[in-house]
């Protein structure tokens, strides 16, 4: 039985909240023939699983988002789809998702969620050409995905982190075309996961990432989500702190350039006692870009002693960019700490003046300060992802102008 974890809880004590209807967009969609094409290589069990999801997929339409238009979304022939590349030192034991057994299937169904949009999530769930199940994390894991303007990429992965295991994962998404990736994580009792997701989206790209994490007792999660985008990118991270004393820290950061757009959503649902959830993000907008940042913390009844915090700062460098922040807090238990702090602005005038008084021109000074902000951010994960941090620092230095 699939139970889809939803973002907003629309009911309380017999009262109901109305939320906007999802308007549909008509796009040249995949249909039966594409489904048949893809299940040809599946075993019976797996093809049944795909079909079931396909029926749900068919009944939905692509969302007519107001800020980021999906009108130019073009679904290309499936046979051109690219697979992900897995890099693991010495790890040979990776199972293709098509070989999912009963237990794994059960876990997979438990970890179902809406994603940034159910239709888009199902697109990858139904039409992925590859996908893996990861259960061993002795060595750090790197997964790279690619998509070009003629070759889309659809992937669905399942990660089960065993009790008391520490895992480290880096997911790198390069996108020049359509990329949809769904990752489901189960962190079992006492396990921990340090994950870095870095995304680079070029101007023709549509990149969708849907990550769902379920944390059992004492599990700890740190998610670093980094994006440099010239195209359209929509990262969605949903963390369910089911377990007692489970902890999560999500650190998003982004730089959007040229005409890039980012619509990012970070949801933390705290239902286990004394669970902790923190979202601490920053973003920089240049040129003619748009960014929407949606952190939300949801605290369920009986989640006593829980701490939920959001902090975000958006820096606007150009007069032609638009930023939107929607920091939501939804609380049904009062023995908690829930707060948020958000700022939107530009680089502090006084800071700029100080640097200029030391001989740095205005643009140089701005650049220094922005790079310093990102560096502060990367320094926090440097111990775990040293090489990647160097890479990201260089990328930022290059693109900040």
């Amino acid at each position: 039985m699939i139970t889809v974890e939803r973002v907003i809880d629309k009911r309380h004590n017999g009262m109901e909240m109305i939320v906007p209807d999802n308007e549909g967009l008509s796009v040249n969609d995949y249909g039966r023939s594409e489904l048949n094409e893809i299940i040809r290589q599946d075993g019976e069990q797996y093809s049944n699983y795909r079909m079931k999801r396909f029926f749900e997929y068919k009944g939905l339409s692509f969302p007519a988002w107001r800020k980021i238009s999906l009108e130019n979304l073009n679904l290309l022939p499936l046979k051109n789809a690219i697979s992900s590349t897995i890099n693991v030192k010495g790890e040979k034991n990776i199972k293709p998702i098509k070989e999912m057994n009963q237990t794994e299937r059960f876990i997979f169904d438990r970890l179902d969620f809406e994603g940034s949009d159910r239709k888009i999530l199902l697109l990858a769930d139904v039409f992925h050409s590859d996908g893996y199940i990861f259960k061993h994390f002795e060595a750090p894991l790197t997964i790279s995905t690619d998509s070009t303007s003629s070759r889309p990429s659809y992937a669905t992965n399942l990660f089960v982190i065993p009790e008391n295991t520490n895992a480290k994962i880096h997911i790198k998404n390069y996108s020049e075309g359509l990329l949809v990736m769904n990752n489901r994580f189960l962190l079992q009792n006492g396990s921990s996961l340090d994950i870095l997701v870095s995304g680079f989206t070029d101007k023709h790209a549509f990149s969708f990432l849907n990550n769902f994490y379920m944390l059992e007792d004492e599990a700890e999660l740190r998610v670093t989500d980094f994006n440099i985008s010239d195209g359209i990118v929509a990262p969605h991270h949903f963390v369910l702190n089911k377990g007692e004393r489970s902890k999560v820290e999500i650190m998003p950061s982004f730089l959007v350039v040229n005409r890039g757009k980012i619509d990012s959503q970070y949801v933390i649902k705290l239902s286990g006692r004394e669970a902790h959830g923190i979202i601490n993000g920053m973003g920089v907008l240049k040129d003619f870009t748009e960014a929407i940042f949606r952190p939300s913390v949801h605290i369920a009844s009986e989640a006593k002693g829980v701490v939920g915090k959001e902090k975000s700062s958006m820096i606007m460098l150009s007069e032609n960019s638009r930023a939107q922040t929607i920091p939501g807090l939804f609380v049904t238990e009062n023995d908690v700490e829930a707060s948020h702090a958000a700022t939107v602005g530009t680089v502090d005038d006084n800071h700029l003046y100080y640097l200029m008084s030391r001989g740095y021109r205005l643009n140089e000074a701005k650049r220094m300060i922005i790079i310093a902000m990102f560096n502060m951010f990367f320094n926090r994960i440097e111990a775990s992802f040293k090489e990647e941090c160097e890479r990201m620092k260089n990328d930022i230095a290059r693109r900040v102008s």
Binding site: N350, H351, Y354, M356
Partner: protein, 253 residues
């Protein structure tokens, strides 16, 4: 001993207001600092001391409505902040801002490299000397620019930049505020080391105390945007004794 009589900084009948408002803050300032000289500007709160310091640096918050600022023979009214800095003007901030993510050591070196190509070894040696003279530990250089610095540490950082960058005209905006005697002494030592025949120093202060350590050649009293009295260091004594009102009385004669 005074040096050659070349004006390092000459201010002629300067009128200044805030960009956003129409109230005049400086109402006709005249000042002449020759190479090798140390001038002190004293005045009560609200007299316009900080404004003077900032307008010389070119802070875009302020606007010159009339008058000239001449630095090293060049009228710099229309020059930007960075350009003034690169010509050798340095301002020690009264409230240095905290800028996260920029390591002090890196900041010092990068800034120095802008104007003189010095080797890393040389720079390291210079900065270590200064650190030692200020009785601080090298760890200080690994901290982020002013982040979490105490008042004294912030001022020491300003003065360290002054010494390290070897600027030509140094303006110290209330560098003594909030300092204990020991810190004041350390800072004064560095400043005195820095002083020579070809550079100049403008001390902006509220209290006479610092002038015991950094001895000025000239003292000016600034009140309500005007210099109402100028003299030697005895002027500072008089202010100490009789408060600023005496200077008003004097100027009215």
């Amino acid at each position: 001993m005074g040096g050659r009589s070349v004006s390092l900084l000459k201010i002629e009948d300067l009128h200044v207001k805030l960009v956003d408002e129409d109230i005049e803050i400086l109402k006709g300032i005249n000042l002449d600092i020759k190479s090798g000289e140390t001038h002190a500007i004293m005045g009560p709160n609200g007299s316009g001391k900080s404004t003077l310091a900032n307008i010389i640096m070119g802070n875009p918050k302020y606007k010159v409505t009339s008058g000239k600022i001449i630095y090293d023979g060049e009228i710099i009214n229309d020059l930007g902040v960075a350009e003034r800095a690169n010509r050798g003007i340095f301002l020690s901030f009264q409230h240095p801002p905290e800028i996260n993510g920029i390591k002090l050591r890196n900041f010092l070196f990068t800034t120095k490299q802008k104007n003189n190509k010095t080797s890393m070894i040389e720079m390291n040696r210079e900065v270590e000397t200064i650190i030692k003279n200020m009785r601080m530990s090298s760890d200080f250089l690994n901290r982020f620019l002013n982040v979490g610095f105490s008042g004294g540490e912030k001022k020491k950082n300003e003065v360290m930049q002054l010494a390290f960058l070897k600027k030509k005209l140094a303006i110290l905006d209330e560098v003594d505020s909030g300092l204990d005697v020991d810190a004041l002494r350390d800072i004064a030592n560095i400043v005195n080391e820095y002083k020579n025949n070809s550079n100049g120093l403008l001390l902006i202060t509220h209290y006479k105390r610092i002038l015991e350590y950094i001895v000025p050649d000239n003292v000016h009293i600034l009140m309500s945007g005007r210099i109402i009295s100028s003299g030697g260091k005895e002027l500072a004594e008089q202010v100490e004794q009789s408060g600023y009102s005496f200077a008003v009385a004097e100027s009215e004669e």
